[in-house]
Every structure is written in C-alpha cells, then in structure tokens.
Symmetry: C2
Subunit: 480 residues, 2 copies
C-alpha cells in the first residue's frame, strides 16, 4: 500500500495530508461519524508522545488518576462560560440499563466539572494544597467537520488539573506546564513551537488566561498543539470549593488545567512530512532504524542474514529501536519506499557485496537520495547509528525552525497582514484591537490571533488594524 | 485518615473490603452512579498491572491500537448471543451536537463488533493473518449492584482481539494469552490463580470456548480475574469476514478475544490484605520501600536526614522504588500505620541511635510485629533490601497458595458440596450435569462452576449432582 504515488504537498497540502495518514498506516476510517481508528503504527507514535509527557509530568510532581467518563448534565451548567462553550458539541447518554435516565449524562468533552466535585471533597485546609493531578483519557466533542487526528469526534489526550492556595502559584503551575509542553515539542518532536498567550476571544471556555504552544505546519498554517489554562477562582467558586488558610480564613483555591491530545500526531506529520511520506524524529520514532537485507538466492541469503543478525544484536544492545524487514516476496526497492513512507529515520541496507567488504549502506530519511546515503564499516555500527540519529534529530528541528522563521513576517498595517495571510505565512504586528476586531479579521481573512508571543520586541507601536497605540505584538495566521 | 480502625476480616469481610479501598486511598466515590474515581495510589497500582501485561503482550507479538468508544446499535445486533448477553447493560447515546441521532450509539461494553468491522477491511488473504491487536480502553456496563473495582459501571481494561487462519491457531492464541495472564498473576501479583475452562453457562456471550484464571480471596470466595475466549467463526461469519486461503478458497477466519480489567486491583486487595490494610507484592508496589526518619529536635534531624539521604540515594541507584516520608507534624507511629495501611512491602526506620550505631531497622509488611523487624547495618543496605523484597514476593505467593489449597475440598455428593459452600471454600467434584443443573445449584447454594481446571485428576467418577458417569472435575464456589 505504501508504494502508491502521493499528491505532492505543493499541489494540494490538504489532500497530501489526508492521503499520507492512511498510506503510512497511522489510522483507518471508522464506521462511526467523525471517529478514527488509530492503527498500531499510529498508536506506537502516540505511545512515544505519552511516554515523553508522562515522564515530564511525574518529574514535576504530578500523579495520574482516573475520573468518570460521564458527567451529570447539571455539573456542566455550573460554570456559565464553560457550558456555553461546550454545549453545541455534547454527546448525551439518555438511556442506560434499558431505562430512560432521570438526569442525562454527558460524555466528557473535558473533565473540569467532574474533577472539581472531587476537589471539593479533598480540599479543606491549606495543608491539602497544592493538588497536582493528571488524567490520560478519551473525550468526545461532536464536531461537524472532522479530519484525522486534527479534529475528531472522540480523541485521546491528557488533561492536567491542579489546585493552589494563591493566584501566583496557579500562574506558576500554568507556566510550568506550558514549558513542559514546549520542551517536549522541541526536544522530542523536533517541532519549534512558539509559546504565547491566547486572546480573550480564543481562550478556553471558563478560563482566566490561556497559554498555548503554536506550531507552523509545512503549508504555513498554524496548529495549536497544547494549551495551559489558569482558571482563576472561576471553577472553585462555581463548585463551592473552599479551604481554611493559615490565618484560619475561608478561601477559594485557584485552579489550572492543561491538555495535549492525539492532535500532536497531526503536528508531527505536517511539520516534518514530505512527498515521500512521514519523517519521524528519532526520539519519537517507534523504529529508529530499519535493516533491509538484499539477496537473490539462498546462498546469498544465508551470508546476508548472518550479518543482519549481527548488526541487529549490536544495535539492540545499544538500546536502539531497530527492526529487521524480513518480508519475503517484496523487492528491496519496495521496502525502501515503504519505510520512507513510514518515516523511519535511518535505514541499513546489507547485500552480498557488503558482506564481502565488511560494509553496510546507511541512509538517512531527512536527506533524500545519494547525498543522504553513505557506505560505512560494519565495525562500530552502533556508535555510528547513535551519532546519526542525534544528527537527524537536530537537523529536523533546524529545518523546521528555518522554515518557520522564513514564514513569519512583520506587518505594519492591515493590507500587509491580509497579503501575508493570503499568500501563506504568519503575520506579526502590533495589536490593540477588541474581540470584535478579531472577529472581523477572521471573517475577512480567515486568520485568527494565534497568540501574543512571550518573545516580544519591547517598546510599543501602532495597532495593525485600528492604528491605536499598542503595547504588544500578536501573531496572525490561518489555523487548523 | 489511614490510622482509623478497620472492621476485621473475620467480623465482616465485605465491610473490611469496602473500608480498606478508601482508607488505603485507592479510590473515591463519584457522583455518577456506579462509577469510581481511581485516586493516584490506586492508579499507580493499575500502572504496575498495565506495565506487567503490556510487556508480555508485546513480547508475544501483539500491537496496541485504538477503536471508537461508540458502537452503532446495528453492529451489536449482528451476533445473536452477543447482543442478548449485553443488551440489559448498555448505555446509549441518543443526542449529539444538539440533535437526535438517527441511529443510537452504544457506549462500548466490549469491542468485538466494532473491531470485527475493521478486520473485515483488513483481511483479504491468508497473508494478512494472523492479526494480533490489543486495546487499552474504558468500557461501560450498566450494572445494578456495584462494588469498588470489582464491578463498576465504567471500568478500565485491556481487550485483545486476534484473527487466525485455523481453529488450531486461534485455540493456541487463546491458551497463550491465558498463560500470559496466569504468569502475570502468579509472578507479579503473587496470586496463585487456577487456569481452567468455563462451562457453557458461564462462557462469554458469543464465544465458542472461554478460559479463565480464578483466584481465591481471603474469604474463600472466587474472583474471575481474566478471561480468554476462542470465538470460533461466530463473529467472522456475523460480520462477513473472509479470506482467500493458499488454495484460493474463500474461508472465514477464526477470532479470539481476551480481557483483564481494574478488577485485578480488587484481586490484589482481597488476596493479600489483612486487618492492618493492604499488602502489596513488591513487583507491583509503586513504593517498594518507605524510609521513615525518627527525630525529636533539629540536631537529631540533621544527623538522621543525612543518613536518610544516603540510604535513599543508594536504594534509588539500585533501581529500588523508594520513598522518604518527610511529613512534618506526624509521629513515626502514625507513619508506620499509614504505610502498613497502604501495603508498602518494606520499611526502613532511622533514628539518632541508628545513626550512632551505623544501623537501621528493616521491617517487612508480610510478617507482623517484632518477628518481621530486624536491625541491620547501613552498609550494603541496597543488596539486603533487594533480597528482602524477593523474599517477601515469594512468601506472599506461598501464603496465598497454602490458603488456597487448604480451602479447596474434594466432594463426592451434593450434600458435601453444599456444606463446603455454606461453610466457605471451594468444592471440587466430578461433573456431568446440564446448564439447568448448574442454574439449580446457583439458585440453591449461591455457588457456580468457576471452571473445569486444566489440572484434572484423570480417570472418571460420578457427578456430584446427578450421579451420572463423569469425565472431569469442576470447581464450585461463590464468587464476586
């Protein structure tokens, strides 16, 4: 399946994406509207993402827990903005055990409300704070237009939920988890995300502040890849959560939440992929190296496979995630294409001549053709592969960073912004407009404020839309 | 919370269980009927179970994938026995995105039907077989009577689903996964499960054969702890799955499924727990050792904490999962009770005298009081703890095995069986009865056939119920 031609990115990026996720065997369509089947190769990528995040969550003192899938309808209604934001997208269980339920149950779109009800029982004194919880779970949002991984009716994610004694502690937690997301994205996924704050129009329903990591895809559109919310005391008040502080005064705690989902799979595909298929960063790739044996007859096979076994054992012993492609009846060329489609970072090819010469061909996925292929000694192969994987990881981040920076343009007025958004790219300009102004821009150009980046130029300028004095710049772009 | 008195097992085992799961901080009640909140300490135990199983699944060639939470109602109806078995327990989504759905969606009670629909698309030729998939997921069964971990409306589990070319291969897979479950239960959870086959009355709805691992709880009741089903061609035919065999003939594949759930947490609690709380087997325990520092003033604290840091570093370096209880304002006695309630296998106590003597007190949870406590040198503590943990793991399995074997009794007639079941224990006797006979026994005694154990005495005898000639023995017991 992987050898068929793909629509080039330059012809139709959207079509390229929709073809590639199936051809690379990441997922399959399901008979349930808007739901996706995550196939083993896609799920292995998700396991890599989970592993990288879970390790970081635990290192920062968080513990995993699990809360119910179902939320009583009345809970969702307690925080006014929250229910308004989510109510168009809810899936509702009305019948269970053969009977009509007295109170319908919502299939969780996110778990703030059900978790706040527990926090209410767990928090009594300042000594009970902070509470630092994470949950790995499935959630359901009934989206009208869905796309594999980017927007699906059901998706997998983690949602962190924490409670703190003060605004400052909650804000520090919100920032810490944004940093955790950014570190994961940059270090493991080789995606040079930009950290920033969402506008009021784009923030989470019920939040005080929402922070985001924004990634640029190969078509220059933005993908919101993870968000971290300071929920203020909104949910604590709506759920009547109180604690006695050290002065024996009753206080509401401050809560946060933060989430990252299977969308990240889409981010990896659209940040690194090319017309030959996926390109997986070595740190996330389930297989970091594939070995393709090359032979024409049983004699050759015997000698080649002996060398392959030796390489394989050596790489395994060095903790390299290696796979030997033992498929019979498929040509080496087919296998090369197949593993390129699946984005395996490095490939070893061993034929009869290599056996004689004690060499092996080592090809890297991030540099196409002959340039990316070298013939090296079988001796010391593990050390060489480790170096190569680390070079590939660095190069992929570098390529994506250069691409991103080439496609962010400073603009000083609305015409310039429109031209950039039209042509493709992110526009960076001073902003002092209102939520209505943002809505107008979205209406007219399709672009939204992705964030107010933390990395600000300093000083002040004139708002690109209203011309008013502005204290900060925003990034504008079309987005997934 | 952990220091309160617990109802002794001998007074009311059921009450003991219901108290212990909350006091040991494994879970909390939720506002949703029959759903449980799994708290961090309980979830860490589940992570241990998941890790032990997932490793074994991958080592036997299985890959994880993810299928939709929702199943179209029509799918469930395609396999007649299957829908009959599950229809009383279904939760049904009828409204989504603000609209009545044309076809209601079932929240999966198990995923055979939705996965078979994919297998139909993935299987065309004998070359596509076998397919070896596992899924970690939440499922929902609307139970009327629920108990923490043992029976909850929503629970977490894994469900394996595989397809094979022949009956023999499917049967071998079914057996292999039962062996994987048994190996996990015995080796990691120290639960001496008995492998066997379910009677037709007790088998999975839609299965050809169901195999089970049955564990004996401390009240001698049985807990079905994992099941593995040979589904024959039932589902393949119901879903129209076919493949071309090597002779180019159209065939239906043979499928299996196998599952183990958060019930296993209940099995660990009820196999090993005592009146002081949980007793966790070292291989599953999130904390294998806890260090409790003992001091009265800052001078003592300085010297003690220096020794504690040294011990901690040494144990961590040896890959022992260690935790230092640094809580201020709690007495050592409170901490000892707390960690005993939480079932941590070993405890190190270090006070000022120990610092002077270069010693440390090492207490084991599986042997109560002074007998289980020794004063040892701080020198070489890591090696000593490793040995102790391994001794505890072995002792817990040994204790549970002795208890199990003491409570299995051979019976030759129905009166003897009733007496055993009444008094508490499993009755082993020859069986040649019908499903109706089994139903009568359940009605009259509360006991069911737990399984026909693989370990059979050989020969033949007279059925304990009908007196007819019988070829195999069954295990009868009350069960959770």
């Amino acid at each position: 399946m992987a050898s068929q031609a793909v629509t080039p990115q330059s012809v139709d990026f959207s079509k390229w994406y929709n073809e590639i996720v199936y051809k690379a065997d990441l997922c399959d369509q399901s008979p349930v509207r808007g739901c996706l089947i995550i196939k083993p190769y896609g799920y292995e990528l998700w396991e890599g993402i989970k592993g990288g995040l879970d390790r970081r969550f635990k290192a920062t003192g968080h513990q995993n827990a699990y809360f119910p899938l179902f939320i009583p309808e009345s809970f969702l209604k307690r925080e006014a903005e929250h229910v308004e934001g989510f109510s168009p997208e809810l899936a509702v269980v009305t019948i269970a055990g053969g009977k009509q339920l007295e109170e319908p149950l919502i299939v969780r779109p996110t778990s703030e409300t059900i978790i706040m009800e527990s926090f209410k029982n767990w928090i009594h004194s300042y000594r009970d704070l902070p509470i630092l919880i994470n949950q790995w779970a499935n959630v359901v949002r009934w989206e009208l237009r869905t796309r594999p991984f980017l927007r699906t009716t059901e998706f997998l994610w983690q949602e962190g939920h924490t409670a703190h004694a003060t605004f400052e502690e909650a804000e520090a937690e919100t920032m810490q988890m944004l940093d955790v997301y950014a570190d994961f994205a940059i270090t493991d996924a080789a995606i040079p995300v930009i950290k920033g704050k969402k506008s009021d129009r784009e923030k989470f329903a019920g939040a005080m502040h929402t922070y985001t990591i924004e990634a640029m895809m190969r078509d220059t559109k933005a993908l919101q890849s993870g968000t971290s919310h300071n929920l203020g005391q909104n949910f604590a008040k709506a759920f009547g959560i109180t604690y006695l502080d050290e002065a024996n005064q009753l206080q509401n705690p401050w809560t946060t939440s933060w989430g990252l989902s299977t969308r990240m799979i889409g981010a990896v595909v659209m940040t690194h992929g090319d017309d030959k298929g996926l390109r997986l960063p070595p740190k996330l790739a389930h297989y970091q190296v594939v070995i393709v044996p090359i032979y024409k007859n049983d004699d050759e096979k015997g000698a080649v496979m002996a060398a392959v076994q030796r390489m394989n054992a050596e790489l395994l012993a060095a903790n390299i995630r290696v796979h030997v492609d033992r498929r019979e009846g498929q040509s080496p060329g087919f296998k090369f294409n197949d593993w390129e489609m699946r984005g395996v970072p490095a490939r070893l090819e061993i034929g009869p001549k290599d056996v004689l010469n004690g060499t092996v061909a080592l090809a890297r996925r991030d540099i196409p053709g002959k340039e990316g292929k070298q013939f090296v000694s079988q001796e010391g192969i593990a050390a060489r592969v480790i170096d190569l994987l680390s070079a590939i990881q660095a190069n992929m981040l570098q390529q994506a960073t250069v691409f991103r920076d080439q496609n962010i343009h400073d603009v000083t007025n609305y015409d310039e912004m429109k031209a950039i958004v039209e042509r493709g790219g992110w526009a960076r300009g001073w902003w002092a407009g209102s939520s209505d102004d943002e809505a107008n821009i979205k209406e007219e150009t399709g672009a939204t404020i992705r964030c107010f980046p933390f990395d600000q130029p300093g000083g002040s300028g004139r708002c690109v839309y209203t011309g008013a004095a502005a204290e900060r710049v925003a990034l504008f772009s079309k987005a997934y």
